[in-house]
């Protein structure tokens, strides 16, 4: 008897959906193999360094969480925005706004105890991110200007503002480096564990992720947000004030992305340079999509993206491959996931 199978357009069984992320990772690495062969690198060795090696020691495994911290925040920020139908591509700029605020407050709040200074830094970073999200949000709601373009352009504008700060008022008077003054010790985020860079920012990131989940699924604001995200016409019919909802969404999303800037300045670098972001805002879009616009999914995806970023660094150290391999793998993973997520709506049926 011959067995025949065909794809049928019905929702997939649970085991197939659970397998999809693994399939996505497999396909991504098969495609990456072509690149690695071009670079004359051993694919198995590379994949070992990217996926396994960072998890093989306590220090590097915790380093994955360090790398994931800003990504959890930007992924949560983008998740909130995209799930609510607001295309905030400006998390990168909002990240910088938060980082600039933290670098400024960090030098001003030195006279206060940590339990006062640190919450104020996070508040400042949140407000700065909100402020940077304000102009595109206002233009969207009042003048119907497409937020995709404006949020993207705002990312470039803040880089020029930062460059002005670093070459002007904040330039290090001693070394002359374009690097802001070091923040006061009382504003540095406390470490969570001995012999590790993992800092308080990680807990803030987890908390923010939970807040996004809570807003989206447990509040009436979240209900309105998701209604707008599902379709503006239907939401209008339900009596949702679309402009107001988009505006609030944009501001919260920008604020959360701003928090990521605080964690990097106050938790890792203790000053700001123009190289402080490894495209965290853009990677947040990848995290949100891999997480299927679910905050918990985005958190898991952000940790995985942090693993790839850490792994790419160990690849570039051990095998002398460009660190940009990490960016390529992350982008490939996004595109592959976008494609195979469609399979959710299919199942394999035996033809009899």
């Amino acid at each position: 008897m011959k067995l025949k199978f065909r794809l049928e357009r019905t929702p997939s069984p649970f085991w197939m959906i659970a397998l999809l992320p693994i399939v996505a990772v497999l396909i991504t690495f098969i495609i990456s193999t072509l690149l690695l062969l071009l670079a004359k690198a051993n694919p198995f060795e590379t994949f070992y360094y990217i996926l396994i090696s960072p998890l093989s020691s306590r220090t590097s495994a915790l380093e994955v969480l360090v790398k994931a911290t800003p990504l959890i925040l930007t992924s949560s920020a983008v998740t909130l925005a995209f799930a609510s139908g607001y295309w905030n591509i400006g998390a990168e700029g909002q990240f910088f706004a938060g980082a600039i605020a933290a670098a400024f407050l960090g030098t001003q709040l030195g006279g206060f105890p940590s339990y006062f200074a640190i919450p104020l830094m996070f508040l400042g970073g949140f407000c700065a991110g909100m402020l940077w999200a304000l102009i595109p949000a206002w233009l969207k709601v009042k003048l119907n200007v497409d937020e995709v373009v404006t949020t993207l352009l705002m990312n470039y504008i803040i880089l020029f503002f930062l460059s002005y700060l670093l070459n002007g008022p904040w330039r290090d008077p001693v070394s002359g480096w374009p690097q802001s003054p070091t923040i006061a010790p009382s504003t540095m985020l406390p470490k969570l564990l001995e012999r590790s860079r993992l800092h308080l920012g990680f807990l803030v990131a987890i908390a923010a992720m939970i807040v996004v989940w809570f807003i989206l699924s447990k509040t009436s604001l979240g209900l309105r947000m998701r209604a707008v995200g599902k379709g503006k016409d239907a939401a209008r019919f339900m009596g949702v004030n679309i402009g107001r909802t988009l505006f609030i969404t944009a501001l919260i999303s920008g604020g959360i992305a701003g928090l990521a800037g605080v964690t990097e300045v106050a938790g890792i670098h203790f000053h700001i340079t123009d190289a402080i972001s490894d495209g965290f805002g853009y990677t947040g879009i990848i995290g949100a999509t891999l997480g299927n616009l679910n905050p918990w999914g985005a958190g898991v995806a952000a940790v995985f993206l942090g693993l790839i970023a850490t792994g790419a660094q160990s690849v570039s150290r051990s095998m002398d491959l460009p660190v940009f391999l990490g960016n390529v793998v992350q982008a490939l993973l996004l595109l592959v996931t976008l494609s195979i997520i469609l399979l959710r709506n299919y199942s394999i049926k035996r033809v009899t």
Binding site: A39, L139, L143, V145, D146, V148, N155, G279, L338, S339
Partner: protein, 305 residues
């Protein structure tokens, strides 16, 4: 500096700076007119700049570099088509994904192909031509790279293709109402794929203009958001080829003035001038915002029933 040479200088550099913007925006015009918002533009221009540079470096021929960027840009457009047209996934996310992929890929390859360089070597760039050097007074304006002169042909050609050929009619039809176009016997998928390939090719050339002609070098900051400016320009141009020309020249003049204003000794940090084109773009969008209506089918994937 006398006024005449200042004005002529600004006009000449406006034409030069506007060239990649017009190539990119024309490319986006083809994509969006067929119903696909191609946010892969930034990455496609970046890949065009890198591949044009690399090919010109190894062959010694800037012309081959530009041809290579055209082909690689077209392939990038087809890749965008695979996701947005064939699979019909979200155009915002797939476009950004393509930009992230092509940007990362260009940087990765730049390190693999040119190992050991801190800064990539310069190449012999295309020399500018000046066929009208003899014209009194205005002569210096016409000292331009040949790709700028190619635009004089391509702009009317793009208009003619879009408005005077069956293929152009099909592009506009599948961008407005794909169901009706399909009913009339137009192959929606093939038309969109072709439009994306043309668009991607134009974007690739726009990127290569910067590396192969204008700078003779490649650096990670070479495109610096010009692709996103093109996305704004197309709204400003109301999705018309002539609008692309005017918009491109207007924005080009802002990029060109940015350099001149710095020399006028205004008491502002120079970053203000660098940020100016991006700020002006946002202001222009604010003024254009209410009245613009793009092709109706943009962002809507087509599923044949």
């Amino acid at each position: 500096m006398n006024l005449q040479s200042l004005i002529l200088g600004v006009i000449a550099s406006t034409l030069r700076v506007a060239t990649p913007l017009i190539f990119g925006t024309l490319g986006e015009l083809f994509c969006e007119r067929s119903g696909v918002l191609n946010l892969g533009i930034e990455g496609t221009m970046f890949m065009g700049a890198f591949s044009g540079f690399a090919i010109a470096f190894f062959t010694g021929s800037p012309e081959l570099g530009i041809l290579g960027a055209l082909i690689i840009g077209a392939i990038s457009g087809l890749l965008m088509g695979f996701f947005s047209v064939k699979l019909g996934v979200n155009q915002h996310v797939s476009g950004l994904g393509i930009t992230l992929l092509l940007t990362g890929l260009s940087l990765f390859l730049s390190r693999v192909i040119f190992p050991g360089y801190q800064v990539l070597p310069s190449i012999k760039n295309v020399p500018p031509l000046n066929p009208f050097a003899g014209i009194p007074w205005l002569g210096p304006i016409f000292e331009q790279y040949w790709l700028t002169y190619v635009l004089v042909l391509i702009l009317p050609l793009a208009w003619w293709v879009l408005y005077r050929t069956n293929f152009g009619l099909n592009i506009r039809a599948v961008g407005e109402n794909p169901e009706a176009a399909d009913g009339a016997g137009v192959n929606v998928y093939r038309t969109r794929f072709l439009a994306l390939a043309i668009g991607g090719g134009l974007m690739g050339v726009g990127g290569a203009f910067l590396s192969v002609a204008q700078l003779g070098a490649f650096s990670p900051g070479i495109i610096a958001g010009r692709g996103w400016v093109c996305i704004a320009l197309i709204i400003f141009a109301n999705w018309r080829p002539l609008g692309v020309l005017w918009g491109g020249l207007l924005f080009g003049s802002i990029f060109a003035l940015e350099l001149r204003l710095q020399t006028l000794g205004l008491n502002l940090p120079y970053e203000t001038f660098l940020a100016l084109p991006y700020i002006v773009t946002i202001i222009a969008l604010a003024f254009a915002g209410r009245r613009v209506i793009g092709p109706a089918a943009v962002l809507k994937p087509y599923k044949r029933e």
